[in-house]
C-alpha cells in the first residue's frame, strides 16, 4: 500500500525542512520527498493542502493502567486515545499491577500493543522492584525485552543511596533514568500546592521544595554515576533553574513538562474543587507557570509530555482530598499547543516538532524519524484550522478526567502513519 501526500507543509528541524512538498510513503518507509510527485497506479492520494506533516508525535509519559487497572484504561484504549491525539509513539509508565519490573511485564505490554496494532508502545520499566524503592528491578532483563527507559514514576525513590544504586546500574545500558521527584517526608499529606491554594481551600500543601530537593539530589547523582537523567513533569521555576544549571555544566540531564503545568496554575482551582485539576505534582503558581512556558519555548525544557493519567468517574467525582491524582492528556496535548502557543506566534512549528517528536525519541534512545527518503514512515498530518470541542464524547480514552473539558481548541491531527500504516484517517481511528 502506498500513500501519496500531495502539497503538505512538511516541517522537520532535523533537516531544516519547512516547505510545501509531496511525500510518497511506500510500505514501511518514506519512498520519496519532492516538490511534485506523479501518482502511480495503486497510490492512495491524500490532499494535504493547508496541512502540516511532521515526524510522528511521541508522548514519552503516559499511564495505560494495563495490567491491573483495566477499568481505567487498557493498552488498546490508550493506543486509540494516542492515535486520536496524533501520536505514533507513547512510552508507558510502570505503575501497573503487578508493577512492570521484569522482562515478562515489558513483553506483555509489547504484545498487547502489537495486538492493538495502532501506535508504538514503548514500555518504561521500574527502577526498583515493585517500585518500593528497596531493591533493584531486573533492569537488564527489561532492556532485552524492549524497555525504553526506567522510572519509579508515581513515587520518588526516597533513599539517596538506593537512587545512586539505580543510576549506577542503569549507566551500563544506553538508557535514561526518569526521575519523579518527590521527597515524601516533605509532601506527606499534600494534595494541592502549598501556599495560596492550600490556605484558601483549607487542605494540606505539597511544597515546591518537595520536588526541587530531589531534582537537586538526582542531578548531583548524575555527577557521581554518569547515568543520564530525565526529570519527569517539572513543575516549578526553581526546579527548571536547577536543570538549566546542570545542562550548563555539560551533564546529561533533560526534562519534560506537561500541558497542564504550562497552561494552568493554582489560581484555576476555585471553590468548585474541580478534581480534574488535582495532579501530582500539583498545579503551581502563576510565576512557576510562566517560567515553564518560557522554558518550553526557549529550549531549556526538552519534551512536552501529557502524564496521561486515566481515572474512573467514581475516583474523581468525590471530595478533593480523596480524589485520585491526575488528568488525561493525549487527545488535548497537540490542540492545546497549537491553540495557545503556535497560533499566537510564540512557538514555531519547528520548535513544536522538537518538543513533541524529535527530543522524546532522543531521550528514549529511539531511531530518529526524518521526513526524507529511507526514513521509517511514522508521521503525523495536522490540520491547523480544524476546531474541536473537548467533550466526553470526543475522548477515545476509557476515562474522561480531563482538566480541559469544555475548551474549544483549534488545530488537530487528522492522520497518523505508523510503519506506513494509516492508523488515523481524517480524524477517525482505524481499529
Amino acid at each position: 500500500m502506498a500513500f501519496l501526500l500531495k502539497g503538505v507543509h512538511a516541517v522537520d528541524p532535523q533537516l531544516n525542512l519547512d516547505k510545501v512538498v509531496d511525500v510518497l510513503i511506500d510500505g514501511k518507509t518514506i519512498a520519496k520527498v519532492a516538490d511534485d510527485i506523479e501518482k502511480s497506479d495503486g497510490d492512495e492520494v491524500i490532499d494535504g493542502s493547508g496541512k502540516y506533516l511532521v515526524p510522528g508525535l511521541v508522548d514519552m509519559h503516559v499511564h495505560f493502567r494495563d495490567p491491573g487497572f483495566e477499568y481505567k484504561e487498557t493498552i488498546e484504549s490508550g493506543a486509540r486515545a494516542a492515535t486520536h491525539g496524533g501520536f505514533s509513539d507513547v512510552a508507558t509508565m510502570p505503575n501497573t499491577d503487578p508493577v512492570t519490573d521484569t522482562g515478562t511485564g515489558v513483553r506483555y505490554q509489547v504484545d498487547r500493543a502489537h495486538a492493538a496494532n495502532l501506535c508504538h508502545v514503548r514500555p518504561i520499566g521500574a527502577l526498583t522492584r515493585g517500585q518500593k524503592g528497596e531493591a533493584l528491578a531486573e533492569i537488564g532483563d527489561m532492556v532485552m525485552e524492549g524497555a525504553a527507559a526506567f522510572s519509579d514514576d508515581g513515587h520518588g525513590v526516597q533513599s539517596a543511596g538506593m537512587m545512586r544504586t539505580c543510576m549506577d546500574y542503569v549507566s551500563q545500558f544506553d538508557r535514561v533514568a526518569i526521575a519523579h521527584c518527590e521527597d515524601e517526608s516533605l509532601t506527606t499529606h499534600g494534595v494541592i500546592n502549598e501556599g495560596k491554594a492550600s490556605t484558601r481551600l483549607g487542605m494540606f500543601g505539597w511544597p515546591a521544595l518537595g520536588e526541587e530537593l530531589e531534582i537537586y539530589r538526582d542531578i548531583e547523582l548524575v555527577r557521581l554515576t554518569g547515568c543520564p537523567l530525565h526529570i519527569a513533569h517539572i513543575s516549578t521555576r526553581k526546579g527548571l533553574e536547577l536543570v538549566k544549571a546542570a545542562k550548563a555544566d555539560g551533564l546529561p540531564v533533560t526534562c519534560e513538562v506537561t500541558p497542564h503545568h504550562i497552561f494552568l496554575n493554582e489560581d484555576d482551582i476555585t471553590d468548585a474543587y474541580n478534581t480534574n485539576l488535582k495532579m501530582n505534582p500539583p498545579l503551581r503558581t502563576p510565576d512557576d507557570m510562566a517560567a515553564l512556558r518560557k522554558g518550553i519555548l526557549d529550549g531549556s525544557i526538552d519534551c512536552l509530555v501529557t502524564d496521561h493519567a486515566p481515572h474512573a468517574q467514581h475516583e474523581k467525582d468525590c471530595e478533593w482530598e480523596i480524589a485520585f491524582f491526575g488528568t488525561i492528556g493525549l487527545e488535548t496535548s497537540l490542540p492545546l499547543m497549537l491553540t495557545k502557543l503556535v497560533s499566537t506566534g510564540e512557538m514555531s512549528w519547528s520548535r513544536l516538532v522538537e518538543v513533541m517528536a524529535v527530543n522524546p525519541r532522543r531521550v528514549l534512545r529511539l531511531k530518529p524519524v526524518t521526513i526524507e527518503a529511507g526514513s521509517k514512515a511514522d508521521l503525523t498530518l495536522i490540520d491547523p484550522g480544524k476546531t474541536i470541542e473537548v467533550t466526553p464524547d470526543y475522548i477515545e480514552s476509557k476515562s474522561k478526567n480531563s482538566a480541559f473539558i469544555g475548551e474549544t481548541l483549534t488545530g488537530v491531527a487528522t492522520d497518523v502513519f505508523v510503519d506506513g500504516r494509516r492508523t488515523l484517517a481524517d480524524g477517525v481511528v482505524q481499529a
Binding site: 495560596k196 483549607g202 487542605m203 468548585a272 474543587y273 478533593w320 482530598e321
Partner: protein, 312 residues
C-alpha cells in the same frame, strides 16, 4: 435576603449579609433566652437534613435545637449510621436523600469542599457546619455575634487568633469575616502551626503571644488538636502552654474591657488554663448560646425569611 444561596464560606459574605445574620439572631434572643415556650412557626413544614459525617457534639446539638425552635422538620444522620461509612459515594448519598425532597442540608465533614460538592447534587440549600480544614462559617457568625454584643460594634476592634492556625477551619472563616466587618486581625502561633500564605488572609502573623496580648480587644484561643502533635509540630503540651497558653499572668496584661473566646472543646491546661476559662472575661458559654441564635438566623434567612417577618 442574603447575597448567597448557600452558606459555604465567610469570604463570599458581604458586610450587609453578616449584619443581617447578626441582627436577625438578635431578634431571636427573646424566643431562645426569655420565653418558656421556645418556639416560633417560622420554618413550619420545611425539611432539614443534618448530615454529620464527622463527630460533633456542640455544633450538631446547636443546629438541632435551632431547627426545633423554628418548627422545622429535621432528621440527623451520620457517624456509624451513614451509608458513606459503608462506601457509598457522597454524590450517591446526596442524590438519595434529595430524592426524598428536602429543603436544606446542614453538613459537617472531614474533607474540604464537601458542602460545595453537595450543592452539585441537589437543589436544596446547603449550610456548611465545618468542612475539614477549610471553613466553619456558622462558628464565625456566632463568634461575631458574641463579640459585637460585648462591644456594641465590630469595626476597629483588634483581635488575636491564637494557636493551630494552619489546620483550623475556625481561623479560616473567622479571620475573613472579622476583616469584612472592619476589625483588625493578628494571627499568633508557632511557625509549625502558621498558615502557608498569610497574604491571602491579609493579616500579620507572629509567633509571640506576649507581644500582642496587651493591645488586643479579643483573644481568641483555638483548640489544639492533640493528634497533630504527632509529627513533632510542637514538642509537648507543657511547652505549648508555656509559650502559647492563656494563663492568668497573660490575662492580667489584657486591656480592661478585653474578652476571651474559644470555639470549644477546650484542652484545659494546654491552650487555656482552667481558671482563665472560667474567669469574668471569658465569653465561652456566651458563644455557645449565640450559636443557637445565629444558626436560627442563618436557616431562617436562607430558607426565604426576611428580617421583618419574624413573629411569634
Amino acid at each position: 435576603m442574603l447575597s448567597v444561596k448557600h452558606l459555604i464560606d465567610t469570604y463570599s459574605l458581604t458586610a450587609d449579609d453578616i449584619t443581617q445574620i447578626l441582627d436577625t439572631a438578635a431578634a431571636f434572643e427573646s424566643v431562645n433566652n426569655a420565653r418558656v415556650i421556645k418556639k416560633v412557626p417560622a420554618l413550619r413544614g420545611r425539611t432539614i437534613v443534618n448530615l454529620f459525617l464527622e463527630p460533633s457534639t456542640r455544633t450538631k446539638s446547636s443546629f438541632e435545637l435551632a431547627e426545633k425552635r423554628l418548627s422545622a422538620d429535621s432528621i440527623s444522620m451520620g457517624g456509624s449510621t451513614s451509608s458513606v461509612v459503608k462506601g457509598e459515594s457522597l454524590a450517591d448519598t446526596i442524590q438519595t436523600i434529595d430524592a426524598m425532597n428536602v429543603d436544606m442540608f446542614v453538613c459537617r465533614a472531614r474533607l474540604a469542599g464537601t458542602p460545595q460538592k453537595i450543592t452539585e447534587n441537589t437543589d436544596a440549600i446547603v449550610i456548611n457546619a465545618g468542612d475539614g480544614k477549610h471553613q466553619h462559617p456558622t462558628q464565625a457568625m456566632l463568634d461575631l455575634y458574641t463579640i459585637r454584643k460585648h462591644f456594641g460594634h465590630l469595626d476597629g476592634l483588634k483581635v488575636a487568633i491564637v494557636g493551630d492556625l494552619a489546620h483550623s477551619r475556625v481561623c479560616g472563616s473567622l479571620a475573613p469575616a472579622l476583616k469584612t466587618m472592619g476589625a483588625e486581625v493578628t494571627l499568633v502561633g508557632p511557625p509549625t502551626f502558621q498558615v502557608d500564605d498569610p497574604d491571602w488572609f491579609g493579616c500579620p502573623q507572629t509567633s509571640s503571644l506576649d507581644e500582642v496580648i496587651d493591645s488586643v480587644d479579643v483573644v481568641y484561643m483555638l483548640r489544639v488538636q492533640l493528634e497533630r502533635m504527632e509529627g513533632a509540630a510542637i514538642p509537648s503540651r507543657r511547652e505549648y502552654n508555656r509559650l502559647y497558653g492563656l494563663d492568668m499572668r497573660r490575662v492580667d496584661r489584657m486591656k480592661d474591657n478585653a474578652i476571651i473566646c474559644h470555639p470549644g472543646p477546650m484542652n484545659r491546661g494546654m491552650e487555656i488554663n482552667a481558671d482563665v476559662a472560667d474567669c469574668a472575661r471569658s465569653r465561652i458559654l456566651d458563644q455557645v448560646n449565640a450559636g443557637v441564635l445565629t444558626r436560627m438566623a442563618e436557616m431562617y434567612l436562607l430558607l426565604g425569611g426576611d428580617q421583618n417577618g419574624i413573629s411569634a
